[in-house]
């Protein structure tokens, strides 16, 4: 049966980025034919969006269980109310010596940072990386780790390594993954060094690359006749590499009809938080849409972030204000910061919802964990974390609910529940004690 490219085209306007242009991709491109065969099982993706320095819980947690009311911080997510599951009662382990480092490090690993000021860092493998390993063969990039703030070298929280506050992703116990904050670098990692996204230009570029490779292969063929055994091995290596790239080009050309919205390669880090946040979310949508990766972690801010948000009249610096000492004025300001983050997150959800994917939208086929590893920032509380799960989870998640769990339920139980939904066979994760019932 011939199916005529029904998953194509999908030209979507990319907001805030100017014109929508189609863009074919290397590697990741699945010809429409094979894709439609798999249409029954949509691609399931994982996204983790982290917010630092705790949340004003009284303005976050709904009072009703099940169907819930919108609170001041959740209000920006109103149009997605039915796609969210708000989780209350999860705990991020016992208090630990580096309170901020522990919040971010334990969020996905469930393990506290190693108490050391040395160059040795250690925690545990993070849940997102379990999923990344699972999908590694399917996509060009196993995962993306992104942030909005540049990393620090040296020591941060109580003299522990800055790695603990800078990242939430750990490939192994001793390999923290750096978070990239420069959209240009992210773009290049996804799309190579192309700087125009005009599909004609890109196809022309591929064609010229092909002719380059053809011609180099000719040169090698000439050379080869003049070489001895060991040298021929090297030259064959080179020929193999050429053929490999030619196959990739062919793959892209074969499905040249597939169209995606695209961005110009960003010049660098945008000057404002808003621009940077939106650009980073746009790139995440693109990465999912093109199936270049299926796992993304994103820190809206690093733990201990002292960022100010002049665009909402918040000039003080996030971290100092988070030590509000129960001053209602400061708490009100913090709520505004928390809601400001939620506004950015809503933008991401909107972009996912308006991007078609298979039989539905990207939002249908993603599981998003949004939240942080600390509840009250004033006391660095690891109890009763602010977490919500968004998206359809490829048919496995039902939103519009507020679930309350017994106090002290490890956040690891959330990971242990989500991992199997994402195809990772794991009965438990870290210090999990079971699955979250009802999720």
């Amino acid at each position: 049966m011939i199916v005529t490219k029904r998953s194509l085209p999908r030209r979507t306007l990319l907001r805030g980025l100017g014109a929508a242009i189609a863009l074919p991709f290397l590697d990741s491109m699945v010809p429409a034919l094979t894709r439609s065969v798999k249409a029954a099982a949509p691609i399931h993706r994982l996204s983790v969006v982290y917010v630092p320095n705790g949340i004003v819980m009284s303005d976050w947690t709904p009072t009703a269980e099940g169907a819930y009311e919108l609170t001041p911080i959740l209000r920006p997510l109103a149009s997605f109310q039915d796609r969210l599951i708000v989780l209350t009662g999860l705990r991020n382990g016992p208090p630990n010596y580096a309170v901020h480092g522990a919040a971010s490090t334990r969020f996905l690993t469930t393990e506290p940072p190693l108490a050391s000021t040395g160059s040795i860092v250690e925690a545990g493998i993070s849940a997102d990386q379990m999923v990344a390993k699972h999908f590694a063969r399917e996509t060009q990039l196993a995962s993306l780790e992104l942030s909005l703030e540049s990393p620090f070298a040296g020591v941060c929280d109580v003299g522990s390594s800055c790695v603990y506050t800078d990242t939430i992703s750990w490939r192994s116990r001793t390999t923290p993954l750096p978070m990239e904050h420069n959209p240009r670098v992210v773009f290049e990692r996804l799309f190579g060094e192309a700087d125009t996204t005009d599909p004609k230009a890109r196809l022309a570029r591929l064609a010229s690359r092909r002719s380059l490779l053809d011609s180099v292969a000719d040169s090698i063929a000439d050379l080869r006749q003049q070489l001895g055994g060991a040298d021929r091995v090297k030259v064959n290596e080179h020929l193999d590499a050429i053929r490999d790239i030619e196959r990739q080009i062919q793959k892209v050309e074969e499905q040249g009809a597939r169209e995606l919205p695209a961005v110009e390669r960003p010049a660098g880090v945008p000057a404002t938080f808003l621009e940077q946040a939106r650009l980073m979310f746009d790139l995440q949508v693109l990465a999912y849409q093109s199936d270049l990766t299926r796992v993304i972690t994103f820190m809206m801010g690093r733990e201990l972030s002292g960022r100010s948000y002049p665009e909402i009249g918040f000039y003080e610096g996030h971290h100092p204000t988070s030590h509000h000492q129960n001053d209602p004025v400061k708490i009100a300001k913090l709520t505004r910061v928390n809601a400001h983050h939620a506004v950015q997150f809503a933008y991401f959800l909107e972009r996912l919802r308006s991007t078609a994917d298979g039989d539905g939208s990207l939002l249908d086929h993603v599981t998003i964990v949004y939240g942080g590893g600390m509840s009250d920032g004033n006391s660095h509380s690891p109890d009763n974390l602010p977490i919500l799960v968004a998206g359809g989870g490829a048919g496995q998640l039902k939103g519009g609910r507020h679930l309350r769990f017994p106090e002290g339920t490890p956040v690891a139980n959330l990971h242990a529940t989500l991992l199997p939904k994402l195809g990772v066979q794991a009965d438990r994760f870290g210090n999990s004690t079971g699955a979250l019932s009802g999720l």
């Binding site: 040395g118 040296g154 190579g192 380059l212 060991a230 080179h238 201990l304 003080e316 971290h319």
Partner: protein, 813 residues
């Protein structure tokens, strides 16, 4: 097939004396005579015989009168005897004098046989490594590229990253080459379609470097901190320079208490001056509460956004320009009660007196150069001048001009091995590019892009002449010799004079060769010998990266690390320039320091950040007094006599111990016992285990002799547990020595051995392959011939480029 075969025969080149051969025997001038087989019969045959075949050797049937038939075997025998490794401990041994005489006789026989039938080896195709690629681009197109952003680092073998056998090519690497070729060719020709997304770049000041002084020779005198970058401006156009200042971990810009002047200069001319800081009406939070309790809201806002307006727009012509961003240096005196220096947490939190900022004021974090905007033309750049040797006046002239340009660049890029077919291939690309871009220069760009991915450019390829007998040794052509010379001495492609001499067929003539070698060593490009050879030989790429974790060594930061590397590189460079004896590496009574390094060494009277030559004595004489080496051979928390001993054995004495066996327990740390153990006491536990002892008995005493230097190279008299340093040691043969001067004497009293080690390393680097038994006659010859002039660098270099492995090649077997 040598070089690709895996076994790493980084031969223990000598190592005599380190395991049991007394100095007397070594120093006895041994007259080579015919090897006497009675020694074999008495001491060797009991294990190595036809029946037992220990190690696959049977000496009862080997003819010691015909060493030349099995040179590799006998080379190994000589080495075992020279190093005293055989006969094994406990077995009867020949007296040292006869053992050394026997080895010398074997070597003489081997050398004679090698002279009669040379075995030069057969280097495999050699991909240019990253440094060679960048240098080749520089010399071909007159454009400096940041290779580390374009290409991945290369694999290395035996300490060098230019070993052909391990320089492989993968699809992802080829992708990088393809994209690099596109980028470089567009920049070189000056592609008018280049936009900001292509050319914008952000330069970061290293986070671990304190900006407390003038940071670079490209920054003005009287400046402090900042960053000077050499940026390639692709077009005549407008550019935007944005500066971000260093923040503390809470996001506050550091060092805002007092006003400071920040200057931006383009090629030395000031284009803008900003004032930053000093807004004293506003009150910050108290120092110890910063980041927890906000201060005045306006101060908070200012501290978080103080660098937002640091942005200027200017016009620049196409080509490389130096953009320099720095503060005006101002004297300051700390007020109030003198505070202890901050480390660890305080250092990270405080915005007043902490690293990487400090009491001197703010620091620059990044400098971004965005553009081109509103381009007015492609301008004239050095690369355009180099490349576009003709400019066609009319369309009729284009093809001829293109051919001229392309032939020239192909001759250099393909290193003299260009034929019509090669040029025509490039011309095809010129034509296609000419058509696609409707411009002559677009065509040239396409041809250059094609050239940069050609195997003739990316690989060093040597071809057997037609009709050569299989397996025979033959002299390489002068064209191949030109490349061997330039990649050895410059890590780059040959220049025109070399290619011309090769084309004339005179490069192999002794006088011409010597003239070229001396010319090349004197050329600036020979600094590659320092950056690539010396740095790798001395294992300085292991100099540990700096983090701000400095609980123990608070002084170790990026500035000191840079100064360490500068010292050693400038010193070796100077030795090479002056063509000193290579033994001077260990005995020279001078070095290069700046203020920071001088202070670290406790040397007075050196001010300012530039490096200068100063006289030194005592512990700082020669390389062994360099902080770079002493730090690279230490752990982050303490010295390691074992690492230092191993370094000495491998780098200077040519007797590297094998890697440790698996599953060895770590040394107990000094705190784990009731009483603190000294390093010496802890390390002596090695000797109790015979499996450890056989190597540690050689490594540890050498390392302990350097214990007067701490883990960052400072002189000390007490160790980490407070015990007085005992720097005395002895080799298994009873030779005793004390301290760094003792080690120095140990090495220089056996000049021949040290030179043999260095020659072996140089030979490895020059050939791009591991050296093995077959190369030993050549290495011995280089050493022998360099001896009369007291082993000058030029003698070693000349010896190597005249040697059999360098001038010859084995045809395919």
């Amino acid at each position: 097939m040598r070089g690709i075969a895996a076994p790493i025969v980084m031969i223990a080149l000598a190592g005599a004396g380190l395991t049991g051969v007394p100095a007397a025997a070594r120093n006895a001038s041994v007259q080579p005579t015919t090897p006497d087989r009675s020694l074999l019969d008495r001491y060797c045959v009991s294990c190595h015989n036809t029946r037992q075949q220990t190690a696959g050797l049977a000496f009862d049937t080997k003819d010691v009168g015909r060493v030349g038939t099995e040179p590799r075997t006998w080379e190994r025998v000589a080495r075992q005897l020279r190093s005293g490794m055989m006969p094994p401990p406990g077995s009867p041994r020949p007296d040292p004098v006869s053992s050394q005489a026997f080895a010398a006789a074997l070597e003489a026989e081997i050398d004679t046989a090698a002279a009669a039938s040379p075995r030069p080896g057969r280097p495999v195709i050699h991909r240019l490594n990253r440094a060679e690629y960048a240098n080749a681009i520089r010399d071909l197109l007159d454009i400096e590229i940041d290779a580390s952003s374009l290409l991945p680092a290369d694999e290395s073998l035996g300490g060098f990253d230019n070993i052909g056998g391990v320089l492989s090519i993968s699809p992802s690497l080829l992708e990088r080459y393809l994209s690099a070729a596109g980028k470089i060719s567009r920049l070189a020709v000056g592609d008018p379609t280049i936009g900001p997304a292509f050319a914008s770049k952000t330069y970061e000041a290293p986070q671990t470097v304190f900006q407390d002084a003038r940071m670079s020779e490209d920054l003005p005198f009287g400046s402090r901190g900042g960053l000077a970058v050499r940026h390639h401006f692709p077009l005549d156009a407008e550019y935007v320079c944005r500066i971000r200042l260093r923040r503390n971990i809470l996001g506050y810009v550091r060092g805002l208490t007092d006003p400071h002047l920040l200057e931006v200069r383009l090629d030395g001319t000031r284009v803008k001056r900003f004032t930053i800081g000093g807004n004293r009406q506003l009150a910050p939070a108290p120092l110890s509460f910063t980041g927890v309790i906000p201060g005045d809201p306006q101060w908070e806002a200012y501290a978080l956004t103080a660098d937002e307006g640091l942005e200027i727009r200017f016009r620049a012509t196409a080509g490389p320009h130096v953009v320099a961003v720095s503060f005006l240096d101002e004297a300051f005196e700390p007020e109030g009660v003198l505070q202890p220096e901050l480390t660890g947490l305080g250092l990270a939190y405080s915005e007043f007196s902490s690293a990487p900022s400090g009491p001197w004021g703010p620091s620059v974090d990044t400098v971004s150069i965005d553009g081109p905007f509103h381009a007015t033309g492609v301008g004239e750049t050095p690369s355009r001048r180099r490349l576009l040797s003709c400019r066609p006046a009319t369309a009729d002239h284009e093809e001829a001009c293109a051919r001229q340009i392309i032939s020239t660049v192909a001759r250099s890029g393909y290193r003299g091995t260009v034929d019509d077919k090669d040029v025509n291939r490039l011309i095809d690309f010129y034509r296609a590019g000419r058509k696609d871009t409707a411009s002559f220069e677009g065509g040239i760009q396409a041809a250059v892009e094609r050239l940069l991915v050609d195997p003739r450019f990316l690989f060093r390829i040597e071809r057997d002449p037609p009709d050569i007998a299989r397996g025979s040794a033959y002299h390489i052509s002068d064209v191949e010799r030109a490349s061997r010379l330039s990649f050895f001495l410059w890590s780059s492609i040959p220049d025109d004079p070399l290619l011309e001499a090769a084309a004339r067929g005179t490069l192999h003539e002794p006088v011409t060769l010597e003239t070229h070698v001396k010319r090349m060593i004197a050329d600036d490009r020979a600094s590659a010998l320092v950056d690539n050879f010396a740095v790798q030989w001395l294992a300085l790429r292991q100099l540990r990266p700096v983090t701000l974790d400095a609980e123990i060594f608070t002084e170790y930061d990026g500035n000191l690390r840079d100064a360490f590397l500068q010292e050693t590189q400038r010193f070796v460079q100077d030795q090479l320039r002056q063509d000193r004896s290579v033994l001077d590496l260990l005995t020279a009574k001078y070095t290069f320091v700046n203020e920071r390094l001088a202070r670290h060494y406790g040397i007075r009277g050196v001010y300012g950040n530039h490096y200068r030559r100063i006289a030194v004595g005592g512990e700082r004489v020669g390389l062994l007094g360099h902080g770079s080496i002493l730090t690279a051979t230490s752990y982050p928390t303490r010295t390691s006599p074992v690492l230092r001993g191993r370094w000495l054995l491998d780098t200077l004495l040519g007797a590297p111990p094998p890697p440790p066996p698996p599953d060895i327990p770590a040394l107990p740390s000094s705190g784990e016992h009731d009483r603190k153990l000294t390093m010496r006491q802890r390390t002596e536990q090695h000797r109790r285990n015979p499996a450890c002892a056989s190597c540690h008995v050689r490594m540890d005493p050498l390392g302990f002799a350097l214990e007067n230097f701490d883990a960052i190279g400072r002189w000390r008299t007490t160790g980490e547990t407070g015990e007085p340093i005992d720097a005395a040691g002895a080799l298994p043969d009873g030779t005793t020595f004390r301290g760094v001067s003792g080690v120095r004497t140990l090495v220089t009293s056996r000049p021949e051995e040290f030179v043999r080690v260095l020659t072996g390393k140089l030979m490895t680097y020059a050939l791009g392959r591991a050296v093995d038994e077959d190369d030993m006659p050549a290495i011995r010859a280089v050493v022998r011939e360099a001896a009369p002039g007291n082993y000058r660098w030029s003698a070693l270099m000349l010896g190597i480029v005249r040697s059999v492995p360098f001038t010859m090649r084995q045809a395919e077997p």
